[in-house]
């Protein structure tokens, strides 16, 4: 027997949306074979030839399996569903490397998880009788994603604190471990684990139905926004995990857009925003993994297909009267996506949009971004920058000194800029961020005061 024979079957992760999300993390450092596998998979889907691609299998099956099992087990026994999934993955890891990947790996995982769940609830005859009747949603001909949507709405129940909603969604729907969530949210894994335990205890003690409740849509959208941001903005952590977070947020938002009950203009605006931002993901770092400023990015590496889709979806989000914060942020992202370079960006428009955003949802970070936009438009507001510098809410914002440094460097005051970069360097940062700041400091030293 050959070890690791790829069997035949429907690739479980072959939806076009998922492929695209994956492409966003296709950095130059990504190993070639993976990319080749993707191309083969793409071709296989097109030609009807089936070759199993296990890529993304566990990650994407995880949420679906937990969601489907939870339908019968109920929200109070989410941990049983997760334990069953864990067992199924373990068996797959112990078996597939030798026996080959089964024809329908997603179905195999589901069945092992379901049978494990039957063992785990042996004292509950009602549930025991119902579980074996469950089949994976894709085989039952149900609309893909229904269970996952319901699970997402459960995780975002307003009875749970927002921070718990985020970690619970990442864990149960996104299939991330406590360590990975901690790395993404810059929180200690122990804190994450504690939140998860408390959230599950709350679900056990407060019987809530597993259903898509459109009145909770705003919570769900906020969590997806945070999820995306955690992947996009974090200056530390494993870059692969962070790209996954962005991809996962996009995938889940697509599910919301595919359901009549949740497909509202603001849902589409959020999806557009995420696509437009994610289009820059692979251009945001240089080959060493160091962060590149918007002005230093090679715009040729921006993902044009993603920009096109984001633009189209943004258009479809703007057909009614609704103008949410997501609409405005997407419009800002579009200003950048459309500009050939930093100089030819419509900064006046960016500033006007930030004004709208500040009216709708005031925040110090938006105010800082507005000030940056104004400076780029040639209107450096000293008083406003001084105010922001002393803004208590921004004291721990890791990007503040670097942003101020960039502004003063641009304004022809390299000495002043250098002070901010040195200040940023006194804080604990990742090696790539440190190299970035040092490079900026060099720029300050090499530029004469204007």
């Amino acid at each position: 027997m050959r070890a690791l024979i790829a069997g035949a079957g429907r690739p479980p992760a072959a939806e076009p949306g998922v492929r695209e999300d994956r492409a966003s993390e296709d950095t130059p450092r990504t190993d070639k074979p993976r990319t080749d596998t993707e191309r083969q998979a793409g071709a296989a889907v097109g030609t009807g030839q089936s070759r199993v691609v296990v890529e993304q299998l566990f990650r994407h099956s995880a949420g679906r399996i937990v969601a489907t099992l939870a339908r019968v087990l109920g929200p109070a026994r989410l941990d049983v569903a997760e334990e069953a999934l864990q067992e199924a993955m373990l068996r797959a890891l112990q078996r597939w490397p030798y026996a080959g990947v089964p024809d329908n790996p997603a179905g195999w995982l589901f069945r092992v998880a379901r049978n494990t769940a039957v063992d785990l609830v042996r004292h509950d005859d009602v549930v025991r009788a119902k579980l074996p009747l469950l089949v994976p949603a894709e085989e039952a001909g149900e609309r893909h994603g229904d269970d996952e949507l319901a699970l997402m709405f459960l995780c975002c129940h307003p009875g749970l604190p927002l921070a718990s909603q985020v970690v619970l969604t990442l864990k149960t729907v996104g299939g991330l471990g406590a360590d990975e969530i901690g790395a993404a949210l810059l929180a200690k894994p122990a804190t994450v684990a504690q939140r998860l335990v408390r959230a599950k205890r709350w679900l056990r003690d407060n019987p809530v139905p597993l259903e898509v409740d459109p009145s909770r849509l705003d919570s769900v959208l906020s969590v997806l926004y945070l999820l995306f941001d955690a992947g996009y903005d974090a200056s530390e952590g494993d870059s692969a995990v962070r790209a996954e977070l962005c991809g996962e947020a996009i995938r889940l938002c697509r599910l919301l857009c595919a359901d009549k009950r949740t497909d509202l203009p603001r849902t589409r605006a959020l999806l557009a925003l995420m696509l437009l931002q994610a289009s820059r993901l692979r251009a945001r770092t240089d080959p060493h993994g160091d962060i590149l400023l918007l002005s230093d990015q090679d715009r040729g590496r921006w993902d044009r297909a993603m920009i096109a889709e984001g633009t189209r979806i943004f258009g479809s989000a703007c057909t009614g009267d609704e103008r949410s914060a997501f609409h405005i942020e997407a419009a800002i992202a579009l200003c950048h996506a459309m500009a050939p370079d930093v100089e030819r960006t419509d900064w006046a428009q960016v500033v006007a949009l930030y004004d709208d955003l500040l009216d709708l949802r005031p925040s110090p970070v938006a105010a800082l971004n507005r000030a940056i936009g104004a400076a780029m438009a040639g209107d450096l507001d000293h008083a406003e920058l001084g105010r922001l510098e002393n803004e208590p809410a921004l004291r721990d914002y890791h990007l503040l000194p670097a942003a101020l440094g960039a502004l003063w460097l641009r304004a022809g005051e390299p000495g002043r800029a250098a002070g901010y970069y040195r200040q940023a360097l006194t804080k604990q940062t990742s090696a790539p961020t440190r190299r970035f700041l040092e490079r900026q400091l060099d720029r300050c030293a090499n530029r004469p005061a204007g």
């Binding site: 027997m1 690791l4 890891l93 112990q94 490397p97 030798y98 990975e180």
Partner: protein
């Protein structure tokens, strides 16, 4: 070309706490390892072993059969993979990149061409 077999040992729960994301990456690395060798013209062969088994011995009063061979918490043989290599050094090099090493050990032995070899 001589064949070498690697015996993969690990504790049963070495992979029990992986998140779906980590399990995903582990599986991809296992597959990648085999794919790379196959592309290099050295397709690995192998098989997994059940954790439960019996040990058969001839004792004083006839056959002595025990459940085993494993002892709780110790590394047990989970599977084997064979590859071609010119000598033990090359075989060691091939197995030294196997992702199983994150979870347990690999014992590399040559398959004797004339019975047992030193």
């Amino acid at each position: 070309m001589p064949k070498f077999v690697g015996f993969l040992r690990g504790t049963e729960d070495a992979q029990a706490d992986l998140s779906p994301d980590e399990a995903q990456r582990t599986l991809e690395r296992y597959i990648q390892w085999s794919d790379d060798l196959e592309k290099a013209g050295n397709p690995p062969e192998g098989g997994g072993l059940s954790y439960r088994g019996r040990v058969v011995r001839r004792g004083g009063g006839g056959l002595d059969v025990t459940d085993g061979p494993f002892v709780e918490g110790t590394e047990i043989l989970g599977g084997f993979i064979s590859v071609e290599a010119t000598d033990l050094d090359e075989a060691e090099k091939i197995f030294s990149s196997h992702p199983h090493l994150d979870f347990g050990s690999i014992e590399v032995r040559k398959i004797g061409e004339q019975g047992c070899e030193p």
